[in-house]
Amino acid sequence: MSSKVIQAMYNDDDVLMDAVKEVRAAKHHIEEIYTPFPVHGLDKAMGLKGTRIAITAFMYGCVGFSFAIWMMNYMMIEQWPQDIGGKPSFSFFLNMPSFVPIMFELTVFFAAHLMVITFYMRSRLWPFKKAENPDPRTTDDMFVMEVLVEGNVASLVSFLENTGTVEIKVTEK
């Protein structure tokens, strides 16, 4: 199904923020916004839900922590409890302080890397991915708001023109 979108260009993030609020107030659907840098508060103005990536990081950390405990316990206590320099390898807790650095690092390692990979997967980023920006200027100094056309094209264009846009394009998506 092909649908029309209007790409309204802005050259200032403050103007963009005001425009977003106006468009939302007028109940038009914002498809996407392309900005060259993070605009503070844009997600709130667009009404996007908060990210849950911190929660995934916490769970990945728990996995790493458990993995470290299992690994150290299996290798150092169960498999071959050798006396290495008088360290007590009779039980995990007796020798735990020496495992803490590894437990800590593996927790951080799992939390950090798996969270990053989750981020790449959720935001569909990988090498050789085709760039999706509608206009090369959006990576430099232009802000583009894509609004879905649901009714009359002309009235939406004139509405957007009043929001401080510097350029408007109507395209098929």
Partner: protein, 436 residues
């Protein structure tokens, strides 16, 4: 302006009176002679036998008679020290809160932080206890050096004459130099406290930033002094209780305990005042920042606690490891329990960003953290002074009540002396509009 509510004032007086009675009871109930202790030990021994755990060693009777004497002698000294140590832990605990608040305050000035400006008067009120607490501690040290108690065994000439290790440290650990150092630290801290207070009050009505610039420079200078004096203070006041033991990161470890308790206290006092409607310019982003500091410094404390413990445990050098052996054998519950209170609990509760904005979460965690750090100081001091005779009983609790009452009284009296908003600070607008 803040008015000291009569309820809180009565509460602080009640704490002080009950605490004073309890402390007096603690001092009066110490055994008066070694004979008393022997009877006491015998009674508890008999009581154990009655429960059926009969342990009779007829063959050892002779040897035991001798070791019982030395044991009773030890127990006698420990029990004599108990009310003194309880008082010392309480005095040091509240003193360190106000001292670290002063350090935190100086850091905020030196780093020109925008967000905490609305909290400066709360911090100044908490540091109002610093002169009082410092003088009380100094009086305590003078009493110790007059042999009213045996907390610092290196002050005892008989002990030193039989102890070559302490003799070799006598160049540093001797009473006149100890008291002189204490005077220098205390004077430096009080000087900066009074000077910075004077400057911020003057800045309130000033037309230029002269006072503010002076404050910036003096804060930076104070931080240099503080870092050196705090480290030496921790050797003098805490580490010298175990004069045979030493640790290089001890100063940082004590500092970590201090700063996390201080930030927690700032948060608790701010929440109390906001609840009473005195701090309408403090929003939940300010509290969120304080909670982040509580969280971060709790982990910092754990890092130092573990670093100190693990390095000594791992190398297991006899002269160092005795410190942890005595703590592990006789203080297992407080020693390991405080890690739960000071690390696991804040880690899990304060990790969530939303929870850090909920006042009752901060209050609950804050109280846990303060209890945890009281136990931390307790475990630093008690094994050296009362050994296996420790107990968190009347002496300990009433000492805390006494000093807590005084702390509340001084802090909230200081709050009434100045407007609650440091309006002359150049960052005040940023702070009032701060949001995260």
């Amino acid at each position: 302006m803040y008015t000291f509510s009569s309820k809180l004032k009565t509460f602080s007086f009640a704490l002080m009176i009950v605490g004073l009675l309890g402390v007096a009871y603690g001092f009066l109930s110490t055994p008066s002679s070694v004979e008393d202790v022997k009877i006491m030990l015998q009674e508890s021994h008999d009581a154990h036998e009655d429960t059926g755990v009969a342990t009779t060693h007829d063959s050892d009777n002779h040897a035991e008679a001798h070791s019982d004497d030395t044991h009773a002698e030890h127990a006698y000294h420990y029990l004599k020290n108990k009310p003194w140590s309880a008082l010392y832990v309480a005095l040091f605990f509240f003193f360190m809160i106000s001292l670290a608040t002063l350090a935190f305050y100086a850091i905020q000035h030196a780093s020109q932080a925008g967000w905490p400006v609305v909290l400066f008067r709360v911090m100044e009120a908490i540091t109002g206890y610093l002169p009082v607490g410092a003088v009380l501690l100094f009086v305590f040290f003078v009493l110790s050096s007059l042999h009213m108690n045996h907390l610092f065994i290196w002050m005892d000439a008989d002990v030193v004459s039989n102890d070559e290790l302490i003799q070799n440290k006598a160049g540093y650990l001797n009473v006149p130099f100890f008291l002189l150092r204490a005077v220098i630290y205390i004077a430096g801290w009080i000087l900066y406290r009074q000077y910075s207070r004077k400057l911020t009050l003057a800045q309130d009505n000033a037309s230029d930033n002269k006072n503010y610039i002076k404050l910036f420079k003096s804060s930076a200078a104070f931080l240099v002094f503080f870092l050196v004096s705090e480290s030496m203070m921790s050797w003098d006041w805490i580490m010298s209780l175990d004069p045979h033991w030493f640790s290089t990161l001890f100063g940082w470890y004590v500092f970590a305990s201090m700063i996390v308790s201080a930030i927690t206290t700032i948060a608790l006092v701010s929440i109390y005042l906001k609840g009473k409607g005195y701090l309408e310019f403090v929003n939940n982003s300010h509290l969120h920042d304080l909670a982040k500091f509580m969280f971060g410094f709790s982990i910092f404390w754990t890092y130092l606690w573990f670093s100190q413990f693990m390095l000594i445990w791992y190398a297991d050098i006899p002269e160092e490891v005795t410190y942890f052996v005595s703590r592990f054998n006789e203080y297992k519950i407080p020693f390991l329990g405080m890690v739960v209170l000071n690390f696991v609990f804040p880690l899990l509760v304060l990790m969530n960003s939303d929870f850090k904005r909920v006042n009752w979460f901060i209050v609950c965690t804050g109280i846990i953290i303060l209890i945890g750090h009281y136990i931390d100081i307790f475990v630093m001091v008690m094994p050296a002074t009362v050994g296996d005779q420790w107990f968190i009983g009347i002496s300990e609790i009433s000492s805390v009540m006494l000093v807590l009452g005084l702390f509340i009284y001084v802090v909230f009296t200081t709050l009434t002396k100045a407007p609650l908003l440091a309006k002359g600070n150049p960052f005040i607008k940023e702070s009032e509009q701060f949001h995260y």
